[in-house]
């Protein structure tokens, strides 16, 4: 079995937090102007 080291725990927390962040970013991206809309 893989022993959870401190580095591993930090990696897992990073992945979980980053996944949630991307979830929020995706939702905001769905309701904000796209790059071409911002430029023109």
């Amino acid at each position: 079995m893989l022993v959870p080291t401190r580095r591993l725990r930090i990696g897992l927390w990073f992945i979980a937090a980053f996944t949630a962040l991307i979830g929020i970013v995706n939702v905001l991206s769905a309701v904000t102007p796209t790059l071409p809309e911002r430029l023109f």
Partner: protein, 231 residues
């Protein structure tokens, strides 16, 4: 770029947002299925961000997570949880909050596509009005994107609610803790080797089974609470 393509990109982006939020806690608990789903969603999501409007920043963020997930792939070994009602209720609450948040953010940030300006609380009320009033509280979209966003709130609401109902009814649909073949195998072992008066308790219907590689030994168990990775 055709409006339909951009609109479906926005819709897909919102749906993946919901899925990623539900996957986050499962990734922390090292679930293998969550890892597979996250990889698939991220790949499609990167393409979708670029197609819907050259959203390079979002695509890059997804790319960083994709690399990290692939790099740590050997860590995600945990089996999925058995379906439970509490898990279903949690997703149901999450889906309602998500739909309200999506509608609120949309009306607040896209209000130039409507004939009225929304404050934050006004955007919350407008989202609720979509579901609870007949004329959507008289909202007037001024262009195609405005019309699309109202439809998308309904689509997201239905999508998240269906997912929540699926999670809620899973414990009823998949009731058995072990398959018929596993039960039969456990029964054969108990009949052949069981010497304690407690041995027959291992055959009660709430039991799951873990068999040794030889198939001659069985451990009967009942999962309680949520499994966690060791800390």
């Amino acid at each position: 770029m055709p409006f339909e393509l951009q609109a479906s990109g926005r819709l897909f982006s919102a749906m993946t947002g919901f899925m990623m939020l539900t996957l986050a806690s499962n990734l922390l608990r090292r679930k293998r299925l969550a890892w597979c789903l996250a990889i698939a969603l991220l790949i499609v999501s990167i393409v979708s961000h670029v197609v819907k409007g050259l959203d390079i920043e979002e695509a890059l963020l997804s790319g960083v997570l994709l690399v990290q997930l692939l790099w740590m792939r050997q860590v995600f070994t945990a089996q999925s949880d058995r379906p439970s009602v509490i898990q279903g209720v949690r997703v149901l609450v999450g889906s309602l909050v998500f739909t309200l948040a999506y509608g609120t953010a949309g009306f607040f940030l896209l209000d130039r596509h409507y004939s009225q300006v929304f404050t934050f609380s006004g955007a919350i009320w407008q989202t609720l009005a979509l579901f609870f009033t007949e004329n959507n509280a008289g909202i007037q979209p001024t262009n195609e994107l405005g019309k699309f966003f109202i439809d998308s709130v309904y689509i997201i609401g239905v999508f998240t609610l269906l997912y929540a109902l699926w999670m809620l009814f899973r414990p009823v649909l998949f009731r058995g803790a072990a398959s018929a073949a596993e039960r039969e195998q456990a029964k054969n072992i108990v009949v052949q080797y069981g010497q304690s008066s407690l041995a027959h308790f291992t055959l009660l219907p709430d039991k799951s089974y873990y068999f040794s590689p030889s198939g001659n030994t069985v451990i009967a168990y009942v999962p309680k609470g949520r499994g966690r990775s060791p800390r």
